[in-house]
Symmetry: C2
């Protein structure tokens, strides 16, 4: 009995596909430093952990499909505090992570074989959601030399076809760390309005912009309520990856009603997770400030440390906690496996996410990797050292390939 | 900006679509008894609630996409205890409720425009999952007079086309309460094998079979590993609806690998919910026994109370905690709304799920409703009294329509 073609053709997450190999590495007693996945090591706010301790409902019932009133209200207060006071709870549907919000968005604005534009390199799960919803993800190229910022209006518009339904931006960018400038976000809003497209902005890393402020799509939502969709998540902001708390936000009422049907079909998000998320109103401003400061220090350290390795190139990552790095290797996928299978230094090695999985265009990104800096500085230091030593040894291996 | 055709065409959950009306009813100060939704009132096992109190990890990290090792092990021990010792953790992918397991199943075994057979009346969310995955749900009729048991092999096979990929059974049945006999399940296994189809068995109500034991598809999985898929959930078994804990189970290794891609694409289920679910190994046998006993008493009470209302017909519900009831009304949808908008008795009313949403065939089930008996007996008693009084008054309203 066969598996369906649509699933057979799905790419395996390039972030997670090396996990069985790294598990084998660990089983051999080798310590693996993870630069491959954006699972923060930062402590979840105590007031959120306390919500678990204080759980008092003796029956764990369904949450309303839109989200519990308390959680919706807490989300709203977060956006109001950011200055977006026009938002109402009826503009928000809470989701099981931003992943579910993404699936809802794709289903609600496209038909099978429609197209969504995004910027390459892009978050690899976009491909999987495109595959499961039957749409084509069209990649507009950006370059490492240009810090993965947007290309010209002409290049972007040249990819629009009659089947294009939306433009999808991740800001700050995963996997690039790019924080898009105001003129870039404005350009996309303009194109979306003029060409009658949706603009989807995926902003789980909003706070993690180290040199400028993130220009949220919410800044344009008051005036352009029809075209704009925000995908959001509490995962990275409060170290809540394992509490599946995302949001789908639009002021387009027919769209929110359509997405509500999808939310109803899966009955409910996690009511315990929502009780945890509700506590965001009680998280001190210092928590976020300290986390941003911590990531900025790691960013600065990582950028300088990587830059000092011969043959390694990267733009300065402006936000999120990722960076795309080009390495002096022909095939970063082979190198990443080799690090896990054949390299150790003092019984330790390092795991990176091969860059190709973040590109649609064949052959592009072969020598790039995504690095997530969600380790403390001492672990980051050791990870970069392992990468440097690995590259040295691998250059001899590669010469023989 | 329009919503996509696939979402526009989705049915709204007939279970949840009256909720805005019932909210308005409650806002007027009227008490509403809910016979419309299967959200149990039974206390969650204390040992599971204690898992929240005892949560000790300071970072709420992603769970592995397949599920935490602890939760997978607990699920496995549950099946082993039932006697299915051949099952291994590699046969299980934990999901965000059985709803997600259903979506994974549909995506993994069908292409767009393929068909899945199911038995009418069926759980209304099957239609929504069919709509979002682009497949056609083909309904094989069953009748109230026959207790919603399967029709003949000929009738079932007459609905199979070259596009049919699977047969989907809910056992014990939602919305019918039917517990399928061994010969019925065997027949479906046989048809699936002979016609090269998958057989998906949706069994969240496994324990709730009051007169016989549920014949799980697991009984056939050892010998027919290729064709069989089990969808399961902890929601109803342990009153954990709001902890989204489902399972996709098959011994077909290429299928499990395909579904693993889907699981990876949404990164992780809820790690807190999984810690709660892990405690199932510590739930005493008495807990389940007492819950079954409680539902059996409610079933007995409800069956007799409904039977005593003139013009009301229903089969004896054999399991789950639902029953499809035919009422002396022309349009149960209109009646259900009328109960919420125009009827009160002592400032109270009752909410029921109109039957039509559980049927695909136009015009069938118009006078039926689904009743969920997840209220205690004193509330059930009052609910049935409200239904009886409502029917009396409505007969005069209907005469004038």
């Amino acid at each position: 009995m066969a598996v369906s073609e649509r699933i057979r053709n799905l790419p395996v997450s390039s972030i997670r596909k090396l996990i069985p190999i790294s598990n084998a590495t660990k089983a051999r007693g080798v310590k693996v430093y993870h630069l491959n996945i954006g699972d923060p090591d930062i402590r979840t706010p105590q007031v959120m952990l306390d919500a678990l301790r204080n759980w008092s409902n003796p029956v764990i019932k369904y949450a309303p499909s839109q989200g519990t009133p308390e959680f919706l209200k807490a989300c709203l207060s977060y956006y109001h505090k950011l200055g977006f006071e026009f938002l109402e709870t009826s503009d928000i549907i809470t989701t099981v992570g931003a992943s579910e919000a993404m699936t809802f968005a794709f289903l609600a604005i496209t038909g099978v074989d429609d197209e969504i534009l995004t910027f390459e390199p892009f978050y690899s799960n976009y491909s999987v959601v495109a595959g499961t919803t039957g749409i084509k993800l069209v990649a507009v190229p950006t370059t490492l030399q240009n810090g993965f910022h947007l290309p010209s209006r002409e290049v972007i518009e040249s990819r629009i076809t009659p089947r294009t339904k939306a433009i999808l931006l991740c800001n700050p960018g995963n996997p690039t760390g790019t924080v898009f400038r105001r003129d870039e976000v404005e350009l996309l809003v303009k194109i979306a309005k003029e060409r009658n497209l949706y603009l989807i902005s995926d902003e789980p890393y909003r706070e993690y912009a180290f040199d400028t402020k993130t220009v949220s799509i919410l800044e344009f939502m008051k005036d352009s309520p029809q075209n704009l969709i925000l995908l959001d998540s509490l995962s990275k902001r409060y170290s809540l990856c394992g509490a599946r708390l995302g949001m789908f936000i639009t002021r387009n009422t027919s769209l929110i009603q359509g997405v509500m049907k999808l939310a109803m079909s899966r009955l409910s998000g996690g009511i315990i997770d929502q009780a945890v998320g509700t506590k965001l109103t009680e998280v001190s401003d210092d928590y976020i400030k300290e986390v941003i400061q911590e990531y900025k220090q790691r960013r600065d350290f990582l950028y300088n440390a990587l830059k000092s390795i011969p043959g390694v190139d990267l733009p300065i990552p402006e936000g999120a906690f990722y960076v795309m790095v080009s390495l002096p290797v022909r095939d970063a996928d082979h190198f990443a496996k080799w690090l896990l299978e054949h390299f150790t230094d003092n019984n330790e090695t390092v795991m990176i996410a091969p860059g190709q999985g973040f590109y649609n265009t064949p052959g592009v990104g072969m020598n790039q990797v995504r690095i997530a800096y969600v380790l403390n500085i001492s672990d980051l230091k050791r990870s970069v050292e392992l990468l440097r030593k690995g590259l040295e040894q691998y250059s001899k291996v590669q010469a023989k390939l």
